[in-house]
Amino acid sequence: MKDRIFKIISKYNGDSSRLMDILHDIQDTEGYIAGDIMGLLADLLSLSAAQVEETVSFYHFYSDKPRAKVNIYLNDSVTANMFGRAEVLKAFEDACGISEGEVSEDGQLGLFSTSCIGMNDQEPAALINDKVFTRLTPYRVSQIIADLKSGKSLDEITVESCGDGKNALPEVNATVYNNIRRKGALLNNDYPFYSVVRDMLPNISSEEIIDIVSESNIRGRGGAGFPTGLKWKFGSKARGERRFIICNADEGEPGTFKDRVLLTEYPEMVFEGMAVAGYAVGADLGLLYLRYEYKYLLNYLNGILDNMRKNNYLGTNVAGIEDFNFDIRIQLGAGAYICGEESALIESLEGKRGEPRDKPPFPVEKGYLNLPTIVNNVETLATVVKIVKNGADWFNKLGNKDSVGTKVLSISGDCRFPGIYEVEWGMTISEVLAMCGATEVQAIQVGGPSGALIGKKDFGRELSYSDLPTGGSMIVFNNSRNLLREVVLNFTNFFIEESCGSCSTCRNMPYVLREKLLKILNGRGVKQDVEDILQWAKVLNVSRCGLGQTAANPIVSSIRNFRHLYDALVQKEVDYDSGFDLESSVLESCKVVGRQPIFHHH
């Protein structure tokens, strides 16, 4: 074992900032990251064992306990539950002979739950080891487990139901579907890959590139909407011996899956966008941070990078441009939503826990390794390539005044055609719903759990940075859904699960609010409880990052827009209820002493 660990460490030159890769490699070879391995790592990296554990225990997909040979991570997102997760879970439990959270006695099968894996348009879905299996039914589950037990490999099982487009390539081989329903200026396949790097960069200055991007008025497509041109300008002016471009492919907002499709069908444009950014700001290294759930794309993406290197679109003197040296490395995440926050992502890239940094300084000044760093979303980088190709004017003609260009939406939930839609900014919610074939709509979650849950009275509002901004996640709920139980509770659990815990507010308040929500759902709530939620949630605004600041959005926006659901649940004639249930609280002790107390009430 020791030799294998030494080998892994030397592969990364004993660099503790590569701890994420080191831990991935160890988990691959040893199956899990045992306590004695952490001790050994600590000695080799001049850390304490507790420091290594600090990183290991932060990430969902690292394990310090033995896991099974085949580990099933069943997605627990809202849409998975809407489309039959419970039956699929039961089928897995029956077929494997274990309960959720367990490993079978022979160590062959393990069954776990996981947060949204970016397959919202094809749920229920699961990660089995690193392979994605979508559109699961109890029947399919029994087939998969039977095949596994008969000795078939995961790759062999996948082939039977490969997805569309490049998902069917041998190096991807995934049962994932692109479901591209509408193409626009970005997705319309009219761009010959690499033509900007090959034909334009040699004849244009870095300042001119930044000018084009600035004049196009494109704003970040990840959700925050910072003007990309301005970010590049700051980055190019910031002082530092080196600069970095980071592509944020840690697409973790539940209900978002457009980056997955971009990386499947248009990775060339994403990488080319990184090279263009590198040229513009004077960076020599690009890092694409890929969420662990998309590991099935890793070999494929690395193949594209190799091809780019061969053609001199990456490497030294890229495209013959003297002194323009730029290469790209893919960093695999390990299961943490918070790493989609740019400074948490950078911490993770440095081998640490994904805890957001205090700002200022912003990454453009002090980012990766405390050097100037540009962090852009996958969609932003792909779009920039077309902007440089077609000019700022071309882009300014798309969208509306407030928000120019197009937006790739990930639409899922109760609609006939879930999938990817590229639309111009300014579309109303009513149009979105008509487009995806949604009827009898009760509500739509715009921008994922950190966005807003809105109802009919707001369906005339427009998608735009000033009205309804979105990173792309749109989840539709029809009239049959129990919004509070199925949606709001699930999203709240998600934020509790995914908080890094650094801020006192975000670590504790969502938990307090969930208790209140459960009290109301269990019929013990009073009117004051709803008021308390609105008051108490405010303290989350002083959290450091967007996750903390928006962690109460599911509850608060549902109270704002669906107050009647709460009013129907709270007790009418009661002003105060402690929520304490004596009978259930003494249940266990009653069992022990074998006596039944007599309760004097009702």
């Binding site: 225990s57 006192s504 108490w536």
Partner: protein
């Protein structure tokens, strides 16, 4: 020499060195901004959010924000003070704090701030979480019940090679501070005492001496927290 800059805190003009944090600048000028995770000599990381202030209508943490010319800071406003009180209450309900029998009572910053903010009983329901107590190290007890996860021990208690004795474990609501098993065994008495001193609450307790100074005569028993700064 650092450049001098003028800033305003709640309208009061203050002259300070450019780049000094707002917390430091305020303290030196008789303005108290409450803190828990901030610790002299350690890199600030706004974890506890107690020093939240408002600048240009944005919430910032005073321990991480450097003073810059012309800044107008809101500090002692009803909105912000209410948030601070909420945070104190959150820290009380999320742990198991039993002040009357705690070795740190009277020297505890959380308790002292609760008095300052006149917390009678937390508005939030108690969690009553199950937490562990690690007494395996020879000179200290690490009691998770009383930990407020401020990171002060993590940042300040290190060996000569810079290795950390304490570290975070897990995340979110399950977050804990653990003591490295091996290094805990080798920790000197002097460092153990320092660890206890640096802990703002009673989560790190030195083993050999207890209650040497009677409750009632301790630091904050005699002088409420912040009273040395307030003017």
């Amino acid at each position: 020499m650092a450049n001098k800059v003028k800033i305003k805190i709640d309208g009061k003009e203050i002259i300070t060195d450019e780049g000094k944090t707002i917390v430091e600048a305020a303290r030196e000028n008789g303005v108290f901004i409450p803190t828990l995770c901030n610790f002299a000599g350690a890199l600030p990381k706004g974890c506890c959010r107690m020093c939240t202030i408002k600048i240009n209508n944005r919430f910032m943490t005073a321990c991480t924000t450097p003073a810059a010319s012309g800044m107008e800071v809101e500090n002692h406003t009803p909105e912000i003070e209410e948030f601070r009180k909420s945070i104190i209450e959150l820290l009380f309900v999320s742990g198991n704090h039993f002040c009357p029998s705690c070795e740190k009572s009277g020297n505890c910053e959380l308790q002292a701030l609760a008095y300052r903010y006149q917390m009678m009983v937390p508005r939030f329901p108690y969690d009553f979480p199950m937490k562990s107590v690690d007494g395996t190290a020879p000179f200290i007890i690490k009691d998770q019940n009383r930990c407020i996860l401020c990171k002060r021990c993590i940042k300040t208690i290190k060996d000569e090679q810079g290795r950390h004795y304490f570290a975070f474990k897990e995340r979110g609501h399950k977050l804990e501070v653990i003591l490295d098993e091996q290094m805990g065994k080798e920790m000197s008495r002097a460092l153990a005492r320092k660890a206890m001193e640096n802990c703002p609450v009673g989560s790190i307790i030195y083993k050999e001496i207890g209650f040497a100074e009677p409750i009632g005569t301790r630091k904050y028993d005699k002088m409420p927290i912040g009273s040395e700064i307030d003017n």
